[in-house]
């Protein structure tokens, strides 16, 4: 018990950027790029060629294997 403690695995999140078109509302999720920031007019919409704006940047962690029991 003293010497065989479970070693915690390092968790690294995958970074994503979410964009939404200002004209048609089309949403797009892609990998984060260095110059991204929230509310930046980023690229052209794939659907209507309108201007898309970054609406969220977040890190997604891998799902936990053992979910803690809800108390």
């Amino acid at each position: 018990m003293l010497f065989f403690g479970k070693k915690k695995k390092e968790e690294t999140p995958t970074l994503y950027t979410e964009e939404a078109c200002q004209s048609c509302g089309e949403k797009n999720k892609r990998a984060f790029e260095d110059s991204d920031y929230i509310y930046k007019s980023s690229s052209r919409c794939n659907k209507c060629s309108g201007i898309a704006m970054i609406t969220a940047i977040y890190g997604e962690y891998p799902p936990e294997k053992e979910k803690q029991k809800q108390l």
Binding site: P13, L15, F32, I38, Y39, A56, Y58, Y61
Partner: protein, 380 residues
């Protein structure tokens, strides 16, 4: 040791009923010796084990501290490209300290605190800018955040090392046990600080940025006026209510000066405010869900207390109710890259804010909405 005890047990309970072994004086000695040894040296053994445990954690902290230092130097070298080697300067930064004002006289302590913190911020900022003449505000604020995290890591390491050496020298169980007990929490905090550095380097929004993110969305397309250092406000309307939106100026890594801004908006400019709504990240208790939202009353703002005092003082003077909307998260989540759970709570926070406006104010009234937190990676 184990085989010895088995032999002893065999002697007592084994064939012969132990009658032979009980007469052997050597077995008596061997049986009682460990008890006496543990009675006399038990605490010493325990101290050794605790010391080795703390020593392992201390070397982890040392690695983290050194990595943070290297990352800070690397960031300066790659992004700012200074003319001289920044190593010496960074080392000097890591040793900077702030002496808190005397609190024996309670009259005016907030003013003194405010003055000291401003002097500190300005000194750090000017020292960073001196590293490279053409440094942008965005890079300077990122650098400030990186140095703050690296300084905190350095301080944790030095304090733990101090108590470790003191405990080792005096072999005081009380010092060592206390240190061992807080060590997991310190390690957790240190790991969060280390992860925060990579978020600061990339300019990624952190968990604490949820407040500025909500107000930033409301400010899109509106005229932004600078009201205090690194703090902007806009005007808007919602259901015949006048809205004043306030946040730190992003996407730089700053918290702005919301306290000073509220004092100016209400006290100096004299805008009539009927309600203040503050949106902030708040510490969740273990077992609570990350990204869950709660509503309450009072100034939702952390920090040393200066900004909170300034907002409370104005609210009390002008009899303005202060409502709070908080997004729950752990201290680690608040300073590291924004988790998906927190980002997903965005729409619900917006809805909650609008509900508070509708419920707590009437047509024709004015509401000041403040997004509290570090606006790193969040524009407006």
């Amino acid at each position: 040791m184990v085989s010895f005890f088995l032999l002893q047990l065999n002697g007592i309970f084994g064939p012969g009923g132990g009658s032979d072994s009980s007469n052997n004086p050597l077995s008596y000695i061997l049986w009682f010796a460990p008890i006496f040894i543990l009675m006399m040296y038990g605490q010493k053994f325990q101290s050794w084990m605790i010391l080795s445990d703390i020593s392992k954690s201390l070397s982890k902290l040392k690695t983290m501290k050194e990595t943070a230092r290297k990352e800070a130097i690397e960031y300066v070298k790659t992004s700012i490209k200074p003319s001289i080697d920044p190593g010496e300067k960074i080392d000097k930064f890591l040793e900077y300290f702030t002496i808190m004002p005397v609190d024996l006289d309670p009259n005016g302590i907030i003013g003194k605190l405010d003055h000291i913190m401003r002097t500190r911020d300005e000194r750090v900022r000017s020292e960073i800018k001196r590293m490279a003449d053409e440094m942008s505000e965005s890079h300077a604020s990122r650098m400030e955040n990186i140095l703050e995290a690296a300084t905190a890591l350095n301080m944790i390491y030095k304090v733990v090392r101090h108590f470790y050496i003191m405990g080792k020298r005096t072999t005081s169980m009380f010092v060592l046990v206390q240190l061992q007990m807080v060590m997991p929490l310190l390690l957790q905090e240190a790991e969060a600080l280390q992860k925060a550095i990579s978020a600061f380097k990339k300019g990624l929004p952190i968990g604490d940025s949820i407040g500025p993110m909500v107000v930033g969305k409301m400010m899109i397309g509106k005229e932004k006026k600078v009201i205090a250092r690194e703090t902007v406000y806009s005007e808007d309307e919602y259901m015949d209510r006048k809205l004043y939106l306030l946040k730190a100026e992003g996407p730089a890594g700053t918290v702005g000066r919301p306290g000073e801004a509220v004092q100016r908006i209400v006290g100096e400019i004299g805008l009539k405010i009927d309600a203040i709504i503050m949106i902030d990240a708040a510490m969740k208790l273990e077992g609570e869900k990350t990204g869950s939202i709660a509503e309450g009353i009072g100034a939702a703002i952390g920090g040393i207390g200066v900004e909170k005092y300034q907002i409370e003082e104005v609210a009390t003077r002008f009899n303005i109710p202060v409502y709070a909307v908080i997004v729950k998260q752990s201290i680690q989540d608040a300073i590291t890259i924004m988790r998906k759970e927190i980002s997903d709570s965005f729409n619900n926070v917006c809805k909650t804010v609008l509900t508070v406006i509708e419920d707590k104010t009437s047509v024709g009234q004015s509401v000041l909405i403040i997004g509290i937190g570090n606006t790193l990676g969040v524009a407006q």
